[in-house]
């Protein structure tokens, strides 16, 4: 990775690169564990403009808070044939949901697969509440509840489940991460590992970290899920994306938690 970058940097030796290098010194980074593909772990927040960051810094300005409030309300609203709310079983979310956002996807023994927070929500709705499931990527209820659950881990560092099952899931995710897809024939790593800190057209590339999802995106003029972003990046390279909440994207998410290990959860973040 640094070899490639170094080569390009040497060829360019231009003023733009010098400028980003100076800017880079201010980025808060977290140390990567041994054998990690990144030498430092940096939140997407650090790559955004002061204006965008300011929207995230102030909870009253953060447009995603409307959905966080919706999630809080749904938490204690009974729904479905069982006449239960999340709170009926899980009580105070500040206690029961603490750490969930910093550790999911997790291995589900019953289902013999890894599940994301979104999948867990629908599992509880279907099996525990006998309520309708919510649509994965754009349903405001699903986004609101996911934000609410993950927000209970805000500020907590991402931790990994080192079970052999999750190791296997992350292996598949790693394969997806490094495979080139689409007519433009690029992998996630091509942009987010090799060139973070550089502009690609009008966008400053970040490490593509997922510690802030669901995120309010200025370009979407709304809130979107982790898998919606994965889908968007695949479409940009003219690839046929995997299905949101399917096996590949779930594995990719699990692997990307490893790439983000130690980063504090920011949900809900604001990005451009």
């Amino acid at each position: 990775m640094m070899k490639i970058f170094g080569k390009v940097a040497a060829i360019v030796a231009g003023s733009a690169l010098v400028a980003t290098a100076a800017f880079a010194e201010d980025r808060k980074s977290y140390p990567a564990p041994k054998d990690h593909p990144l030498s430092e772990i940096i939140s997407g927040y650090e790559f955004r403009t002061p204006e965008t960051r300011a929207l995230q810094d102030d909870d009253f300005e953060n447009p995603a808070y409307i959905l966080l409030d919706l999630g809080a309300e749904l938490w204690s609203t009974a729904d479905g044939a069982a006449g239960k709310s999340c709170a009926s079983c899980h009580g105070d979310a500040a206690e029961s949901m603490k750490g969930i956002g910093a550790s999911f996807p997790k291995w589900s023994k019953e289902r013999n697969k890894a599940i994301t927070v979104e999948q867990q929500i629908n599992i509880c709705r279907e099996e525990q509440m006998q309520a309708d499931t919510w649509k994965w990527t754009k349903d405001p209820n699903m986004l609101g509840m996911t934000i609410f659950v993950k927000n209970q881990s805000r500020g907590m560092p991402i931790v990994l489940d080192n079970s052999p099952e999750m190791e296997t899931v992350r292996k598949l995710g790693e394969e997806v991460y490094y495979t080139r897809y689409g007519q433009l024939d690029m992998s996630c790593a091509n942009c987010h590992e090799d060139y973070y800190g550089n502009y690609i057209r009008a966008d400053m590339l970040s490490q593509g970290q997922i510690n802030g999802f669901p995120t309010y995106r200025l370009k979407w003029n709304g809130v979107g899920s982790t898998h919606r972003r994965f889908k968007g990046c695949m479409k940009n390279i003219r690839a046929n994306p995997f299905k949101p909440q399917g096996e590949e994207f779930t594995a990719l998410e699990a692997y990307m938690m490893y790439r983000a290990v130690g980063l504090p959860i920011e949900t809900p973040s604001v990005r451009n």
Binding site: I11, A16, Y199, K235, A239
Partner: protein, 148 residues
């Protein structure tokens, strides 16, 4: 009559598609000797390919002083100033056709005239090259104007 007209229009469509048939291009020692169209390209059209987001979108990755009027020059690839002093026509053609055969598999730069070995290409782009043979020649002609 109506049937005949439908068939005719079908034939017409097919012949348009085959006009864009992808040629086999060989890269030898980092160079492509012959023009893909048999003619030199048009540098003015090539400048449009270079900056067009739906064409080459080369500007997304390459800074270029010649286009200082344009906003948002990317910086993941080398700056294009003086690129014609560094490479021959044949080398530039090879870089645009398939940079992986020139720089190695690691490169971020897409191949612009290649459909093999791609994976999960979106339906809309299946079996199609990013640029047409004409556009490749045009952008090469444009690059040849970038001298210092």
């Amino acid at each position: 009559m109506r049937f005949a007209a439908l068939v005719l229009s079908g034939v017409f469509m097919a012949s348009v598609a085959s006009a864009e048939e992808i040629k086999k291009v060989e890269i030898v020692d980092g160079a492509v000797q012959a023009s893909l169209t048999g003619k030199p390209g048009d540098a003015v059209a090539g400048a449009k390919v270079f900056k067009g987001r739906r064409a080459g979108n080369c500007l997304a990755c390459h800074g270029n002083k010649d286009m200082s009027g344009e906003q948002f020059h990317g910086e993941t690839g080398p700056i294009m100033d003086g690129v014609a002093d560094r490479y021959s026509t044949e080398q530039l053609r090879a870089i645009v056709v398939n940079s992986k055969k020139v720089f190695g598999d690691h490169t971020l730069m897409p191949a612009f005239y290649e459909v093999d070995r791609l994976s999960r290409v979106a339906k809309k782009f299946e079996g199609k090259t990013v640029l047409s043979a004409q556009q490749v020649e045009d952008v090469v002609a444009y690059l040849l104007t970038l001298k210092e």
